[in-house]
């Protein structure tokens, strides 16, 4: 009986998580367009619903009813596989992410995470690495030069930015003496990691920008020079899969930044509920992502590589060494 209850609880949590993550891109696209508009002294969507609030719904209906086009020269199997490969890993990663300690519902303590892995960080980096395959397959299978160039760039970008990203986290792991995200947040109860690890935060954030393929590192889908990059040939719901994946990864990187460097659900000054603190911090970083997008130009390909290998990698290595020396 207890097993069934526990299992049911997990299923319920996963279902809730998937529902939230699938619906999250709707307000995020609206927000992104609104922020873009106002930063450029425009208004953004205004006509569908109040201040364009229903615009994402209209876009969703449009994408669902559009023709699902597969190019004649495409590798049909990989072409169909790629959006799923791009969409699934970001959702799987959220299994390992805690949103808080626990809440009591009807007298029962319910934990705000699906599973408390002791290697959560490794799991996240391992699974999120699979997402790149979706992008690479998508570009390759479409048999279009723009798509191939896009996935080529993604390939190089992911390889050069996962390494500093992984190294930047090591400092945090050393401080918390654990790879479990819950332990990492608990270790930040007094002082947030960003105070001890400003360089680590910087490297992680920049690498995260590249990981989420956002401006200034969105070379994989550079509209100006590649059409739309790896998803040039995609249309309809498969294109929507890529977009949802992109937004979920953006949220994921924000969540990781908050958990690893900004104290997770630990609040300061204001005694707000922990979950609200967490949501506020994540919202702030999502906003920063959008803010960056409409402020900075895109880096050139060689500059991107130079930043990854010549700046971020040495910085993260130095960060590890200095953290080790100070800790010992």
């Amino acid at each position: 009986m207890e097993l069934i209850v526990a299992l049911g609880l997990i299923v319920l949590k996963v279902a809730l998580l998937i529902a939230i993550l699938l619906l999250l891109p709707l307000p995020l696209t609206w927000l992104e367009r609104k922020i873009a508009g106002h930063m450029q002294q425009r208004m953004g969507p205004m006509r569908v619903g109040w201040h364009g609030l229903l615009q994402p719904v209209a876009d969703g209906i449009k994408l669902l009813t559009k023709e699902d086009h597969i190019p004649a020269e495409a590798d049909r199997f990989l072409f169909k596989l790629a959006p799923i490969l791009a969409l699934a890993p970001p959702f799987v990663v959220f299994v390992a992410i805690p949103f808080g300690e626990s809440v009591s519902v009807l007298g029962n303590e319910i934990t705000l995470y699906v599973s408390n892995m002791n290697v959560a960080l490794l799991f996240i980096f391992a699974v999120i690495g699979i997402e790149v395959y979706g992008v690479i397959f998508g570009g390759w299978a479409a048999n279009s030069k723009y798509a191939v160039l896009g996935s080529l760039r993604t390939c190089a970008q992911m390889i050069s930015y996962e390494i500093p990203m992984g190294f930047a986290v090591i400092g945090v792991v050393m401080l918390a003496q654990s790879m479990s995200l819950i332990d990492i947040v608990r270790a930040q109860a007094d002082v947030w990691n960003v105070v001890y690890q400003p360089v680590g935060f910087f490297v992680f954030f920049v690498a995260g920008l590249a990981e989420a393929q956002r401006i200034p590192f969105d070379l994989a889908e550079a509209e100006g020079d590649l059409g739309a990059g790896f998803h040039t040939e995609y249309s309809g719901i498969r294109f929507a899969f890529f977009m949802v994946s992109e937004y979920v990864i953006m949220v994921l990187v924000s969540v990781l930044v908050v958990i690893l460097f900004f104290g997770g659900w630990n609040g300061i000054l204001l005694p707000l509920p922990p979950l609200l603190w967490f949501a506020l911090k994540v919202a702030f970083f999502v906003y920063v992502f959008m803010w960056f997008r409409f402020t900075f130009p895109r880096y050139r390909y060689d500059q991107l590589m130079a930043i990854g290998w010549k700046v971020l990698l040495p910085l993260s290595l130095a960060n590890i060494i200095i953290t080790g020396i100070v800790l010992s």
């Binding site: 106002h38 930063m39 208004m43």
Partner: protein
């Protein structure tokens, strides 16, 4: 010495991303500035300046009589031959047009008819919203031309849009008396 200091300052600025920071501050400031968008068909519309050449209109004199003397000079000078005038003589022996048709689908709004008119009877006014599903509807007759709005008095301002004819009720702007659109442009 001071140049070296300056150079050092630049490097320090670069190291702490002063340039990126100032860019972020700029876009953040713009986010809370007033949008310059004119919500044209929905809420507001632009009143053109008085020299704007929009839809033609025919004028009346003080007695309410049509000013046009049906001399057909406008039809002669019209480069695209879109004006058709048929004169008649009223009981006082004055010439007036019995038919005055402008095919606005052909018209190029050059304003030569206005220049040629000896009686100051025809002019190009402020109206620009007369699109139609049929080019037949774009042939405007004498009585319609008499009813068209004249030249804008001041112009260059934004007023409530009236295009939404289905609702009858006009959508209103916050400033129904019109405002100067240019003041919204932020100059830094």
């Amino acid at each position: 010495m001071s140049r070296a200091l300056e150079r050092a300052g630049t490097w320090v600025g670069w190291a702490f991303f002063a340039d990126l920071g100032s860019a972020l501050a700029l876009t953040f400031g713009y986010m809370f500035s007033r949008p310059v968008t004119m919500q044209y068909p929905d809420k507001e519309k632009w009143v053109p300046y008085s020299r704007y050449r929009g839809h033609h209109f025919l004028k009346r004199d003080e007695a309410g009589e049509i000013k046009c003397v049906a001399c057909e000079l406008c039809a002669r000078i019209c480069p695209c031959d879109c004006i058709e005038v048929v004169p008649y003589e009223d009981e006082n022996g004055k010439r007036h047009p019995s038919k005055f048709e402008i095919d606005t689908a052909r018209c190029l709004f050059c304003g030569l008819c206005e220049d040629a008119c000896p009686a100051d009877a025809i002019a190009l006014g402020q109206q620009y919203e007369f699109s139609s599903f049929s080019s037949r509807d774009l042939v405007i007759g004498r009585d319609d031309l008499l009813a068209k709005p004249g030249k804008a008095a001041t112009g260059g301002s934004v007023v409530a849009a009236q295009l939404n004819t289905e609702k009858i009720v006009l959508v209103e702007t916050k400033e129904p008396r019109g405002y100067n659109w240019w003041r919204n442009i932020r100059r830094t």
